[in-house]
Amino acid sequence: MALNLIRKFAAASGLLFAFSAAVSAQTLVFTAIPDEDETKLVERFRGIADYLSENLEVDVRYIPVKSYAAAVSAFRNNQVQLAWFGGLSGVQARSLVPGSQAIAQGVEDKAFYSHIIAHESTGLNEMDELSDELRGKTFTFGSKGSTSGRLIPEYYIREAFSEAPEDVFSRVGFSGNHTRTLRLVEAGTYDVGAINFSVWDKETKAGNVDQDAVKVIWTTPSYPNYQWSIRGDADERFGEGFTDRVQKALLNMKDKELLNSFPRSGFIPVSNDAYKPIEVVGKQIGIID
């Protein structure tokens, strides 16, 4: 209990001092896409910062951002050197920073999938294929830059209906993140929404989902998603072999509590090429030029 309190305080003050403390050249700054509630992100990544700083023997600092694009920009502008990106934001970020690499993904990210969830008032049931029953409903994506909350669901909606989501649904919104998508569909503000399976499972397991109000009606085929990406000039800045050390530290992460906060069962190596399919889909939809 007391420990928990102390940790919470540390998390909150970390957020503050992120802006006030000077960031020296020897500080590894990292960020993450804001795909869930902020307090959860801050708690999770404070833990990661401590873990990395122990293993890498440099100062490691986490910077919270308000949007996916802000995470990409910070990575591109070299204000952060390491980031936990989604599939799409990773592709965007790495295409903007020559030499940057995807170094580790979660075990679950190799074959990730998204759910389409619906409020009970719609009367929608589990379906094998996205069907015309969905037409005219209101629909919310997660963030505009999200892979699992926007890109992949949009891709399959376009494939099933041969139309843009705005034409299929009576109203299309962007909730901002997965937790909020869940809350909005649960409350009936939107009839239907797209959410990644990992947040859905975690919230269900934690008992935070009203099973009578909202249920999964469809699941996408699998695709590669979240990964840690590091800038190409990290070795130059932090010393030879630094990228490898970061990768090793991530792969060796065994702390159950840390891993559960993602939630991932562990991290495995990955390369840029694994995300080719995401790039192709992004170009098709027009999110990537």
Binding site: L16, S20, S67, V72, S73, N77, H119, G188, T189
Partner: protein, 488 residues
């Protein structure tokens, strides 16, 4: 009554708004809008001041960004106001003030990142444009006679310092103080895009349903604004202005290479960057116009016209709350508190709150714009009516309202309303970031997709639209011979 041009213009705008309503997306989509609203108000009346250690620092940062931004803006604005007659300066100022603070912040975020300079410039640049215009208007109204009576050969500077400044000093000071209050609001909402001000924490608390925490932040913000006359003293100002830069936080260091890259690559239209030539550029521009700019312009116009009329209605309903011609001191104090609250809450925050509670549609935006702007105009009109001396046998109650007060203040009411037309449109565009399909939505989408070339085109279109409305508003005010002193 229809013979009066002011009445005719009013009905014309009312008609436009009614037609716009047919095209507008007005709905409450939340399943339980009143329950959530109730929970929010419960949160406001049970504020939790100690839940987040960040709030005090966030308030300090909010004040610091406002001071530095407004001080810089007023200095640059004053310098610009001296050469404001120059058409190039005039156009430049119109352009920089037509772009909203949040858009400026989104631009600077792309190359300065989370450095304090991003927030300072996001406030200082548009404010310079506004200050330049208003200062020059104030200076022009100074009595020219003393200047003519000076001995020949008096230097321009002495002439200016002796005859212009003293005559306008009070007005300049009042306006600048007023702008500082606006600066606090601007500073607060910058947090919504990631700067360390109040909006940052407010957004987090709100999106997670921590209403008591959000309520505490709002209350503290109102207190800071309402107590401004107590702590913003002329003698303390230099201390604040010199001290504020030290409380902006350090953020992350600027990498100057990013600035060059932004201007030489990022905002260059992608067909040119990729060497697709002129025809490629045309296709690209056509695509931006058809899929983003035109729907954005249409929605922005529809929402602006509805919000403008709703603002007028709220202002006319609200001014009796503080008018000395109605009710006793208790009711009037209540009215003052209500108006302070609605006009101190930035439209952006009001709209954000209502969108969270009612679900996405134009309705929350209309209500937010109408409450905030209607609160400001209602306050100004109410104060004006209190200065009117009625005949001893003047009618009372509703007849007093319709026959004695509204006809007397209607012209200045319209003047304020048309003055705020452009401001309402600027805010309407920015509310798109929250998910309403106005221009801001498409700007935000372009930025989320890392397509800064598109974002810049859309921001420039937004600015041109604002300038157009500004010109039209001024034309109507001149046509109806409406005069007003500038407001926020």
């Amino acid at each position: 009554m229809f013979s009066s041009p002011t009445v005719r213009v009013s009905f014309l705008f009312l008609g436009i708004a009614l037609v716009a309503l047919l095209f507008a997306d007005i709905a409450i989509t939340a399943a339980n809008p009143w329950k959530d609203l109730g929970r929010f108000f419960l949160g406001v009346v049970t504020p939790d001041f100690f839940s987040s250690e960040g709030v005090a620092v966030a308030l300090l940062r909010t004040v610091a960004f406002a001071f530095v931004g407004v001080a810089l803006g007023s200095l640059c604005g004053f310098a610009l106001s001296l050469v404001y007659r120059n058409p190039i300066v005039r156009t430049f100022c119109a352009f920089i003030r037509a772009i909203h603070e949040l858009f400026w912040a989104l631009i600077f975020l792309q190359f300065f990142g989370f450095h304090p300079l991003t927030g300072v410039l996001a406030i200082a640049i548009p404010y310079s444009g506004i200050f330049a215009k208003v200062y020059s208007e104030i200076l022009e109204e100074a009595d020219p006679v003393p200047g003519r009576l000076l001995p020949p050969g008096t230097s321009t500077i002495s002439r200016f310092l002796y005859t212009r400044i003293p005559d306008c000093w009070v007005q300049l000071r009042t306006y600048t103080a007023y702008r500082l209050e606006c600066g606090l609001r601007s500073s607060a909402i910058l947090g919504f895009v990631g700067l360390p001000t109040l909006g940052f924490f407010l957004e987090s608390a709100f999106s997670q349903g921590h209403y008591s925490e959000a309520g505490a932040m709002l209350i503290l913000f109102y207190v800071v604004i309402a107590t401004m006359p107590l702590w913003v003293r002329p003698r303390l100002l230099p201390i604040y202005v010199l001290g504020a830069p030290f409380f902006l936080g350090e953020g992350l260091p600027i990498v100057w290479g990013n600035v060059e890259r932004f201007f030489t690559q990022d905002i260059v239209p992608s067909p040119i960057r990729n060497g697709e030539g002129f025809s490629g550029l045309l296709t690209w521009l056509n695509d931006v116009m058809v899929t983003e700019a035109l729907p954005g312009i249409w929605n922005t116009l529809v929402l602006t016209q509805i919000a403008l009329v709703a603002t007028g209605i709220i202002a006319l309903l609200a001014f009796p709350l503080i008018s000395a011609h109605f009710g006793g001191p208790v009711r009037r104090t209540g009215g003052h508190i209500f108006l302070v609250v609605v006009r101190s809450t930035p439209e952006y925050i009001l709209a954000y709150i209502l969108l969270q509670l009612w679900g996405p549609s134009m309705l929350p935006a209309v209500i937010a714009l109408a409450l905030h702007n209607g609160g400001i105009i209602g306050h100004l009109i109410g104060r004006q009516t209190s200065a009117i001396r009625l005949r001893p046998d003047a009618p009372i109650g509703f007849n007093r309202y319709t026959y004695e007060l509204v006809p007397r203040v209607y012209r200045s009411f319209l003047a304020f309303l048309f003055y705020r037309w452009e401001i309402i449109m600027r805010e309407t565009a920015i509310l798109g970031i929250l998910g309403i399909y106005t221009l801001g939505f498409y700007v935000d989408s372009a930025i989320q997709n890392i397509q800064f070339d598109r974002a810049m085109i859309l921001i420039v279109i937004t600015a041109l639209l604002n300038i157009g409305i500004d010109v039209l508003g001024r034309f109507i005010r001149r046509k109806l011979a409406l005069q007003t002193m500038p407001t926020c």
